[in-house]
């Protein structure tokens, strides 16, 4: 297959599968979904391999070159994010069916509708990672947002539906701000292609207003503090496989788009002060998210607040605009994606097995579920940034960048963030390891099948291995580094 065709297939195959999964009888959906996952994931990994071998790949759809037509573009960043999505999707395809069968509280139809909705989400994620056109990315944002809201609502209970409604309203509002910014950019430049816009943008009122509106819109979707308020309820009340998708992947898609827009379009008009603001918000998110995570009583809420904190790291790149920090930021997106997906799936397993997710009632649960709590610990190593995990490599790179630039508040925040992560993860493990079983609890406890326990373990292991193999993503990234980085 022509490597450029892979880009088109990566979007169209999940779209086609989503439609097929909707039409297929409910009994067929799991098998068809698993088969489709295998296909889509292979294509994504194949594309990443092609980009590693031959460098960035572009395709003009309908053979209409920009500015008239729409371009898809796969560089190192896209390849890594596509590969991350595939690596999360594969274990998820084994875990999700087992989880939906076991979880009585979710309606029976939740398991059947999970597949088409997740395929739509996958198509939207791939599109956003490949998008080379601002308006096309808008359609991708809406596809991703609607699918995410519907996936949250699969939780079925009142809390899940309320979180979904709030998520929907804010996601739509974010898209509106983004579209308004795109409209102004089109007025100023007359093109929608990212690269072409970057080449001709001038520092006028319209482009400054567009930068502000687009950034605000995407910050709402990425849930950077102070726009994080919708995230904990939505991520914590969704079914566990959905939480893994939302925290691990969906918030990263709007972040990648923001990264591209800042470093590929707006770099000529100077990022200066605005970048400092985003960096400072990132630090604030690390601190506030971690403090909130420490206060939580429920495991899933703790994990969701930890996402708020970990997303903060991603934004340090806007203040530390150098190549090292860029690599660190992308590596952090990858390692957090894997570790957080593992953690949410493990948290879902704990809820299934114990029938509750109260942290202070975990006494000795690790004895009952050794594999699941081992997964929690393994994912925790990466979130805390301990060697040899991917989280360590990412934070190390960012730390080096901050030291090179002499930005001491950032040095303190990066190191302090790891300590804070330990502050909310250790109590969880301490409760699970210490103490004796509560005899009354035993009746409700059930052993978990290997389909439930091994997929999160695999994800946590991958997050750990990422640190040992950090050179592979680095060599992918080195080809597509934005010219605007110092």
């Amino acid at each position: 297959m022509n490597p450029a065709d892979l880009l088109v297939w990566l979007v169209l195959l999940p779209v086609l599968l989503a439609a097929l999964l909707f039409v297929a009888p409910e009994g067929w959906r799991t098998r068809l979904g698993q088969l489709g996952t295998l296909l889509c994931a292979s294509l994504a990994l194949l594309l990443a391999w092609q980009v590693l071998q031959h460098g960035p790949i572009s395709v003009a759809l309908g053979n209409w070159q920009p500015p008239l037509g729409i371009r898809l573009h796969a560089d190192g960043l896209s390849a890594l994010m596509l590969a991350l999505t595939a690596l999360v999707a594969l274990p998820l395809a084994a875990h999700a069916p087992a989880w939906f069968v076991r979880h009585e509280a979710a309606q029976s139809r939740a398991g059947a509708f999970f597949w088409p909705l997740w395929m739509f989400q996958w198509a939207a994620l791939n599109l956003l990672f490949l998008a080379g056109d601002l308006f096309n990315a808008y359609v991708g944002l809406e596809l991703s947002g609607l699918a995410a809201v519907a996936l949250v609502a699969l939780g079925g209970q009142r809390a899940a539906l309320e979180a979904a409604l709030r998520y929907l309203l804010l996601a739509l509002f974010g898209s509106m701000l983004y579209l308004l910014g795109v409209a102004l950019l089109y007025g100023a430049g007359g093109v929608l292609d990212l690269t072409l816009l970057g080449a001709q943008l001038e520092a006028d009122h319209a482009s400054r207003a567009a930068l502000l509106l687009i950034t605000l819109g995407l910050l709402i979707k990425t849930a950077l503090l102070p726009f994080h308020f919708w995230l904990p309820a939505a991520h914590a009340n969704a079914p566990a496989p959905v939480s893994a998708i939302l925290s691990g992947l969906v918030v990263k898609a709007s972040f990648v788009l923001l990264l591209r827009i800042w470093f590929e379009i707006f770099h000529p008009i100077g990022l200066g002060g605005a970048g400092e603001v985003l960096g400072a918000l990132g630090i604030a998110a690390i601190i506030w998210g971690s403090l909130q995570a420490m206060r939580q009583e429920r495991i899933k809420l703790l994990v969701a607040w930890s996402t708020v904190a970990q997303l903060g790291y991603l934004f340090l790149i806007f203040a530390l605009a150098v190549e090292l920090a860029w690599a660190g930021s992308v590596l952090h997106a990858l390692s957090h994606g894997l570790a957080k997906a593992a953690l949410f799936l493990a948290a879902g397993n704990i809820v299934l097995a114990l029938g509750h997710d109260q942290i202070h009632r975990l006494h000795g649960a690790a004895g009952k579920l050794p594999l699941t709590f081992f997964t929690v610990a393994l994912a925790g190593v990466s979130l805390m940034g301990l060697p040899p995990s991917g989280g360590f490599a990412a934070k190390w790179l960012m730390l080096q960048a901050a030291i090179d630039l002499g930005r001491w508040p950032y040095v303190v925040a990066i190191i302090g963030g790891s300590l804070l992560a330990a502050g909310y993860l250790f109590p969880l493990l301490r409760h699970a390891l210490a103490g004796t079983h509560d005899p009354r609890q035993r009746e409700g406890e059930r052993l978990l099948s290997r389909w439930l326990e091994f997929p999160p373990l695999l994800l946590a292991t991958l997050a750990l291995l990422l640190g040992l193999m950090a050179l592979l993503p680095m060599s992918l990234l080195s080809g597509g580094m934005p010219v605007s980085l110092r």
């Binding site: 308006f135 808008y138 359609v139 809406e142 947002g145 609607l146 809201v149 519907a150 609502a153 009142r158 539906l161 309320e162 979904a164 409604l165 929907l168 309203l169 739509l172 509002f173 509106m176 579209l179 308004l180 409209a183 102004l184 089109y186 007025g187 929608l192």
Partner: protein
Amino acid sequence: MNMALWFTLVGAALAAIALHAFFSRRHPLRRLIALNIMGSGIFLVLIGLARLYPGTLPDPVPHAMVLTGIVVAVSATAFGLVLLRRLARLGRGET
């Protein structure tokens, strides 16, 4: 001032009013309406820009973008309303 520029400013006013209503109104149905009006304002900016100067040819690309935007907006609104109704039924104790 030309006619198209006037309507882009009207679009800007619509977006600003809708922004205010989105954050100050309480009922989710009203907030959905506010989002729709904000969308109309943005579409107006796009189309106004497409023919900002008399005598130049109208640009069909923003027209296509707005048509796409209208369909996306109605899809999102429709789903939002179904979600709202589901919540209301849950609140009434039905299933």
